[in-house]
């Protein structure tokens, strides 16, 4: 009796979010006040954060017969996911309001998406993992389609759904092959049961799993959906898609490839290396040609995922923690950049073309400074945090003997620097538009955005705490 009670403890945050997501669904239906749903959503996320924080103890605990795992890496990622969701919802409030999307469904869907991510982060079984992944994906498809009258958004949702379903199919197919080989769906048993005597079959299953994961991460050559979805979705939804889900995707890569399929490291290392170089090349080169900021950031995401893969493929504690640091800081940076797009959009005007930001410095020097800090951080220029993110990944790469990959990565970073610099150029060097940009949103959003921008600088000046946390979390979570 006590044992089963104890067994539920690791999943307490998930249970909490699920219950309150259902309540949020009902709140609007009965009260007709979407603002209540907004407040309740934010408190739910904060509450989940508190529960996770109290649950975090650095010990690896399994629940539900080993289908669910609670460890420090998962806890840290979940905390960042809550924070990203809170910030994303706060940034979006005014935007949704102006476009008639400020309704209970949005908040319920966000909570379900967060729940999906939490399940993904804590999955130690193929089925749990797939359950979380689909919960997240279905919520995101619906969120993209939330703006019913917009043809672009509907198209994006359709594309997202079809391609997402295909990727899920890949993943399931790969899982089924692995199941056929090993007779188990659980990561802990899989790692022992992986049969290295049939390398061909193993690689065959692995390819499908990796392809599915690459799709979810948005890494080339499975990246086609990213620009269209980022561009087509309402900016507030892009803001959400572009941040927290990356953390969950990182988590499932860790769970599947490192926790489950580590014996096949030689195989997936090479796949990741190819995908990383492709992502860096395609992402950075294609981003140069974009005139739409959302699309440009979408391609830049692809490039950043390439960097993330570089950290993962080193197969070392240093590399995994570097990748974790990278994905966390990237999520925060991306949140700020899309947050700025949302903040500068107002009723009837989407500030999403590069031209819309012309001469922002003349009228709103502080907003321009925040945006510039975010861009320099993405470009990896010190003293902003993006520099350290790239630095630790490169360090892990060189440490693992992948010198040529490190050189390739910096060459593509140089190409990437060009389009980030172009944004700064638009902000500072160009003459302002005749039509003035008026920020929407209240002073709380402005404060949050400021914090987001200054955070880039502070994390870059003092990277030690977060770096040490990532290193520690990886160390206690991997055996």
């Amino acid at each position: 009796m006590t044992l089963s009670m104890l067994n539920l403890m690791p999943a307490l945050p998930e249970i909490f979010v699920l219950s309150l997501a259902c309540v949020v669904l009902l709140v609007e239906a009965f009260s007709k006040k979407a603002a209540w749903a907004y407040t309740l959503t934010q408190w739910t996320l904060v509450g989940a954060g508190v529960i996770t924080l109290f649950n975090a103890d650095g010990v690896k605990t399994y629940a539900f017969n080993g289908m669910f795992v609670g460890d420090l890496m998962g806890d840290v990622l979940k905390l960042v996911i809550y924070a990203a969701a809170v910030v994303a919802v706060a940034y979006s409030r005014r935007y949704l309001h102006d476009r008639g999307m400020f309704r209970g469904e949005y908040f319920a869907l966000v909570l379900f998406a967060v729940l999906g991510m939490m399940v993904m982060v804590s999955a130690s079984h193929f089925l749990t993992l797939y359950l979380g992944l689909e919960l997240l994906s279905l919520s995101l498809y619906t969120l993209v389609a939330l703006q019913r009258d917009s043809a672009v958004a509907s198209e994006a949702a359709m594309k997202y759904f079809v391609l997402g379903a295909l990727a899920s199919g890949f993943l399931l197919y790969g899982m089924s092959i692995l199941y056929g080989m090993t007779g188990t769906l659980q990561m802990g048993q899989l790692i022992q049961a992986v049969d290295m005597t049939h390398p061909g079959l193993l690689a065959f299953g692995l390819v499908f799993v990796v392809a599915g994961l690459a799709f979810k991460l948005g890494a080339a050559p499975f990246h086609m959906w990213v620009p269209d979805i980022y561009h087509g979705a309402p900016s507030a939804v892009t803001l959400f898609i572009g941040s927290a889900p990356k953390l969950a995707a990182f988590a499932i890569v860790m769970r599947l490839l490192v926790d489950g399929l580590h014996p096949a490291v030689g195989d997936w290392q090479q796949m990741l290396a190819i995908m990383a170089v492709l992502s860096l090349a395609i992402g950075n080169l294609a981003a140069i040609m974009q005139s739409n900021l959302k699309r440009m950031l979408a391609y830049s995401t692809i490039a950043h995922m390439g960097f993330l893969l570089l950290g993962l493929l080193t197969d070392s504690y240093a590399g995994y923690s570097a990748a974790m640091f990278y994905v966390i800081t990237y999520a925060i940076t991306s949140l700020g950049a899309f947050g700025m797009v949302v903040y500068l959009s107002r009723a009837g005007f989407e500030a999403e073309r590069l031209d819309d930001f012309k001469g922002l410095n003349a009228k709103h020097p502080w907003l321009a400074a925040i945006m510039a800090m975010l861009m320099f951080s993405m470009a990896g220029i010190p003293p902003f945090v993006g520099f350290y993110a790239k630095f630790v990944v490169l360090q892990a790469l060189v440490g693992a003997g992948w010198l040529w990959l490190a050189v390739a990565a910096v060459v593509f970073s140089l190409i990437g620097a060009f389009y980030y610099l172009r944004v700064v150029k638009v902000l500072y060097f160009d003459a302002p538009h005749a039509a003035d940009i008026v920020p929407s949103g209240g002073s709380d959003v402005r404060a949050l955005l400021s914090l987001n921008g200054i955070g880039m600088l502070l994390l870059g000046l003092m990277p030690q705490p977060l770096l040490a946390l990532c290193a520690y979390a990886i160390e206690v979570s991997l055996q």
Binding site: Y388, L403, A406, F418, V424, F429, L467
Partner: protein
């Protein structure tokens, strides 16, 4: 060690804090106040740097004024500062130049004054950090961060083609430094987990690795110097940058590149440096001779001085790679002297540009009739640029030529050609601009320099003459460090 915050930290953070303070003080309505804060900040930055000179012990080659604190202990990165005789003079030069730049931009800059002043102050602090850093990553952080203010300076207050020039400047210099980042990480593992530059100088490294490291450093620093053939960003950047930007670019940022050779490339990869010294000397001589000829045909004054900078910096790298005390010291003296002279020349061109809004030599003529005081000072700096004895320009060049002649007569002969070319392009430009009949009414209407401009140029004139007549205090400071460096470089580091 000094209790609390050290002098070097102050030289870095006083200007940066002053710059941030200006940024926080609001828009153009408070421009006068912002100018005042900038002046106070620059002056304070210069004053806190002075104890480096007075308290410097010239007898030792060890690092002085050291400060050490852990920065990212997880990967062993430290906030480690210190200067020796090679780096200390540049901190002073930089702090001094910042003061001049703030004064020079006093009236000329009328839009976004606060951001302009703040960019220069922050830039100044970051450059001091470059010269003071003894930790590889700390150096790198300053080295790249200093691109940001200059990028903004060129792009916002520059000429018509400023966007192209700013982006070209940034990407060119970033290309070099990114490869250096990989080199730094490689050295971290090579040295068993240290980012200390001094540790790297001691660790044995194989020949292939040394060559690769040298090439990585070469890309980082040669672009900054700039050496032929990676110099093409400089004329663009100079022409488009506002006067203050050109001054900082020529007087300081070019020196960062040359300094990098002395701090990184030569002592960390000495065998590769010897192996490739022929190439380096060849590139330097091409810069001296070929770029000198290119300067001769320029019709734009700023471009002319930009090319002259490249030629003069060729002298510096030539001095370094002959591995003679006289050569290296001569190179360092040349760097400081060029800091004064190029700053002065760009300021002179700025003075004329403010009045006539043209940099074309053809638009001028007979300026001496309208601006006698200015013409006299301009004359001094032009002569110094041509390497006239008794000016600082002569000392460095003479030392380098003396050092080179010991190694190879023909190198020295080629290098000495610069005395002819330098005189030719500088004085010919001076003649066309200043002498002759007044060519048009606009020139006749030019006002002579006011007291602020006079002060700036006079300060530089004192420096140029002072160093030309009595260079001993400067060379004395460098002596121990340079000898130590050369002794270190003379020993093979092959395992």
């Amino acid at each position: 060690m000094i209790e609390g915050i050290g002098i070097l930290s102050l030289t870095i953070w006083v200007p940066i804090v002053a710059g941030l303070f200006i940024l926080a003080s609001g828009g153009d309505r408070s421009a006068d106040g912002q100018r005042a804060i900038a002046l106070v900040g620059a002056l304070a930055g210069f004053l806190v740097a002075l104890p480096l000179w007075t308290g410097f012990d010239a007898k030792t080659a060890a690092m002085q004024f050291e400060e050490m604190a852990p920065w990212v202990p997880l990967i062993n990165i430290n906030y480690h500062l210190g200067v020796d005789g090679i780096s200390m003079p540049f901190i002073l030069l930089n702090s001094f130049t910042t003061l001049l730049v703030v004064l020079a931009g006093w009236q000329v800059i009328q839009t976004k004054v606060g951001q302009y002043m703040a960019a220069f102050l922050i830039q100044s602090g970051l450059i001091n950090g470059v010269f003071a850093a003894l930790d590889g990553v700390l150096f790198y952080a300053f080295f790249e961060a200093m691109l940001i203010p200059l990028y903004i300076i060129i792009g916002v207050w520059g000429g018509p083609n400023r966007v192209y020039a700013a982006i070209k400047f940034f990407l060119y210099t970033l290309l070099g430094s990114l490869l250096m980042m990989v080199a730094l990480i490689f050295l971290f593992f090579q040295s068993g987990g240290s980012f200390e530059i001094l540790d790297w100088q001691r660790v044995p490294i194989g020949m292939t690795a040394q060559i690769l490291l040298f090439v990585a450093f070469f890309f980082a620093f040669a672009v900054k110097v700039p050496m032929w053939p990676v110099h093409t960003w400089l004329p663009d950047a100079h022409v488009e940058a506002p006067t203050g930007g050109s001054v900082v670019l020529a007087a300081i940022t070019l020196k960062v590149g040359a300094y990098g050779f002395l701090r990184f490339a030569m002592p960390i990869a000495p065998d590769a440096a010897h192996e490739l010294s022929g190439l380096m000397i060849a590139l330097s001589l091409i810069a001296v001779v070929y770029i000198g000829l290119v300067a001769l045909v320029q019709s734009d004054m700023k471009k002319l001085i930009a090319y002259s900078s490249i030629a003069h910096m060729g002298f510096v790298t030539l001095g370094f790679f002959i591995f003679q005390p006289l050569g290296v010291e001569g190179g360092l003296v040349q760097m400081i002297s060029h800091g004064f002279i190029s700053a002065a020349l760009f300021l002179c061109i700025g003075v004329m540009y403010d009045r006539l809004h043209s940099r074309q030599i053809a638009d001028y003529g007979g300026v001496v009739n309208a601006m006698p005081k200015f013409a006299a000072l301009f004359m001094l700096f032009a002569m110094a640029n041509a390497g006239l004895p008794a000016t600082s320009g002569f000392v460095g060049e003479f030392m380098v030529i003396l050092g080179t002649i010991k190694v190879n007569f023909w190198y020295a002969f080629a290098a000495a050609l610069t005395l002819i070319f330098g005189a030719a392009y500088t004085l010919w430009m001076y003649k066309r601009v200043v002498f002759g009949p007044v060519t048009n009414d606009k020139v006749a209407a030019m006002q002579d320099i006011d007291s602020r401009e006079f002060l700036v140029l006079a300060l530089l004139a004192i420096c140029v003459l002072g160093m030309g007549l009595y260079p001993l205090p400067v060379t004395e400071v460098m002596h121990a460090s340079v000898n130590n460096l050369l002794e270190h470089v003379a020993h093979s580091k092959l395992p």
